[in-house]
């Protein structure tokens, strides 16, 4: 069966510090991968998606970036965090018509 992992589960970072969130999927090959952010009052917002290794489509550029160095690995990064980057970050994967979400990372930027 397929599983999706995200880490860390929670993170508290100072403004201006870098960020790296990792998502890995097990039990499937060549999935579509997605990064979403859920922030208070703003709903669930798609940040990036990837249909293959090295292929990244950006929805909300801002100061975030994403990379897919391996088929089942998706990384969300920032060089300098802003207060507005606080939120709940969710990774998702899709194969055929089903899309499943990971457990999420709660990021607080102080």
């Amino acid at each position: 069966s397929q599983t999706i992992h995200q880490w860390p589960a929670t993170l508290v970072q100072p403004v201006g510090s870098p960020l790296s969130l990792e998502c890995t999927v097990e039990g499937t090959s060549n999935p579509n991968l997605y990064w979403y952010r859920q922030a208070a009052g703003r709903g669930l917002q798609l940040l990036f998606y990837s249909v293959g290794i090295g292929q990244i489509s950006s929805e909300v550029p801002q100061n975030l970036s994403a990379s897919r160095p391996q088929d089942r690995q998706f990384i969300l990064s920032s060089k300098k965090l802003l207060l507005s980057d606080s939120g709940f970050y969710l990774c998702a994967w899709r194969i055929t018509n089903e899309q499943f979400f990971g457990p999420g990372t709660r990021l607080t930027v102080l």
């Binding site: 579509n32 997605y34 709903g43 489509s57 969710l90 089903e98 979400f101």
Partner: protein, 113 residues
Amino acid sequence: SQELEQSPQSLIVQEGKNLTINCTSSKTLYGLYWYKQKYGEGLIFLMMLQKGGEEKSHEKITAKLDEKKQQSSLHITASQPSHAGIYLCGADKGIEYGNKLVFGAGTILRVKS
């Protein structure tokens, strides 16, 4: 304006009562996804609807997609405290957009014992 509108924004029901949540799209839907979320946790996949008039059920939850494929409803029969959470509908944007999902704002459900 938001592409997907969910209603109501929140509701409180007595345990054992039925309830319906609606999701309306301004565009024809390629596919419509329903998820449930507990606060601070990931989304749990409930159902996916694709064909006009389609209806699916899982335990006491039934979801329907209308014939025009612009509106979906989620119906819970005999609600229980375990049904409490946030219900989100998501619209599939199609393969040319990586099948990304655009979500409604969510409906917060509370079930009183």
